[in-house]
């Protein structure tokens, strides 16, 4: 049996579901019962970690776990049960708009008195907030744009060309030192964080896992290609102004040049990506498959829903002077002045 070298170890389980999935992955136990899946809190720590474990097999896997588990029918059955819970909850909780234009309209304006996480970090964020934010976000940014690659074979024409062009840009335009995941690792180094893939899964809260699981859910299912495109559009449209605020936070706190550069780069890059995604990717997809409009709108709404939950969790903890993490960060901040 061949195992993935350099893959992260399995994180600590957070309840019976994640414990069962991990036992099965190690070949040392049974998968959770479907009744337990049906009973668990859908956005909770345990269910979301169990789903995260299933999805990671499609990215880098885990040390000591056979890569063949990716297509293990029993595990896929469990994953499907977890996904069914997750997707049903999102469809019930997140839907706000029926049409794409209405869903996009809310993203294309800039609040004068914004109160989100990026506003908090810009105005009053301290280095420890920025380190927590980077650790939580590292679950996605160390594989930035990867979940969206799965949609490429499911698009044609203008939508495919636009999506591929933006993805190429996300992956550094052919230059390894400009791959966005690499730029984020450099930011983590500036903040005194460990850049190893999967290092902060144990520290990440359920709300952070939800944001990453959403992308994997949409990316892995062709039936959700409209939602994936809606997700991508939301991220690209909201990124530019948010990145400007985060770049200002990095500058104000003296986080370091790579930390500033990651967000500075996204201000400009995503102002372009927004245009390509709206005109070519969404426009092209709906020209080919107009019946997907409601799914695109759902992807936009679901992304806003999970991001708002994540932001609310961070701000609630921080305003109470509490850590948002489940495990404390190392204090390896020696080179931060």
């Amino acid at each position: 049996m061949e195992h993935d070298r350099g893959a992260p170890g399995l994180p600590a389980p957070r309840g019976p579901l994640s414990e069962g999935v991990e036992a099965y992955l190690r070949g040392a136990g049974r998968l959770p019962r479907l009744e337990d899946v049906a009973r668990a809190a859908v956005y909770g720590e345990d269910l979301q970690l169990a789903l995260y474990l299933c999805y990671e097999l499609h990215y880098r896997g885990f040390a000591g776990v056979s890569p063949d588990r990716e297509w293990d029918p029993e595990l896929l059955r469990t994953r499907a049960a977890l996904e069914h819970r997750f997707l049903s909850a999102l469809r019930a909780d997140a839907r706000l708009h029926d049409g794409v234009d209405e869903a996009l309209a809310g993203l294309l304006v800039e609040p004068v008195d914004g109160t989100g996480v990026s506003h908090f970090l810009r105005d009053e964020g301290e280095l420890w907030h920025l380190r927590e934010y980077a650790a939580q976000r590292s679950l996605y940014h160390l594989k930035e744009a990867d979940p969206h690659a799965w949609v490429l074979p499911r698009l044609w024409g203008r939508a495919k060309a636009g999506m591929a062009a933006v993805e190429f840009d996300e992956w550094g335009g052919g230059r390894a030192d400009r791959v966005h995941a690499r730029l984020f690792a450099d930011l983590m180094t500036d903040l005194g964080l460990d850049t190893a893939y999967g290092r902060y899964v144990d520290a990440a809260c359920a709300e952070a896992l939800v944001t990453v699981n959403l992308m994997s859910l949409f990316g892995l299912h062709r039936s959700l290609r409209g939602a994936l495109v809606g997700h991508f559009a939301t991220v690209e449209i909201t990124s530019s102004p948010g990145s400007r605020r985060l770049a200002e936070a990095m500058r104000r706190t003296g986080a370091g040049p790579a930390a500033e550069h990651f967000y500075d780069e996204h201000v400009e890059a995503d102002a372009v990506h927004e245009q390509v995604v709206r005109h070519d990717v969404i426009g092209g997809l709906l020209e080919e498959e107009p019946q997907l409009a409601a799914d695109v709108a759902f992807g936009i709404d679901a992304t806003g829903f999970v991001e708002d939950r994540f932001g609310a969790r961070l701000l609630a903890d921080w305003r109470a002077s509490l850590s948002s993490l489940r495990a404390p960060l190392d204090r390896e901040t020696a080179h931060i002045s």
Partner: protein
């Protein structure tokens, strides 16, 4: 995204393979370069581009597509930074 901050604001970079003035007309692609205009939002064009600013300095972008600010509110002028958006 393939430009680092140092690429952005360097006036008059000597890049012979990119500078139109260094190319003979026959080197240019026969296909006209399309510029997309919008009532609200940036001008869109295929990169790479050089932009000559009012003071004569030249900035370059080697993105696959370039969004040029038309509202003049961008803090990264001439590149769009989404500052054209309505504030509500």
């Amino acid at each position: 995204m393939p430009n680092s901050p140092s690429d952005r604001a360097t006036p008059d970079r000597a890049t012979p393979d990119r500078s139109p003035s260094d190319r003979s007309p026959s080197d240019r692609s026969e296909a006209p370069r399309r510029v997309t205009v919008q009532r609200k939002g940036p001008l869109l064009m295929e990169g790479p581009v050089e932009v000559e600013l009012e003071d004569g300095s030249v900035v370059t972008s080697d993105r696959f597509r370039v969004a040029l600010c038309t509202c003049r509110r961008s803090r990264r002028y001439p590149w769009c930074d989404t500052s054209h958006r309505d504030r509500v």
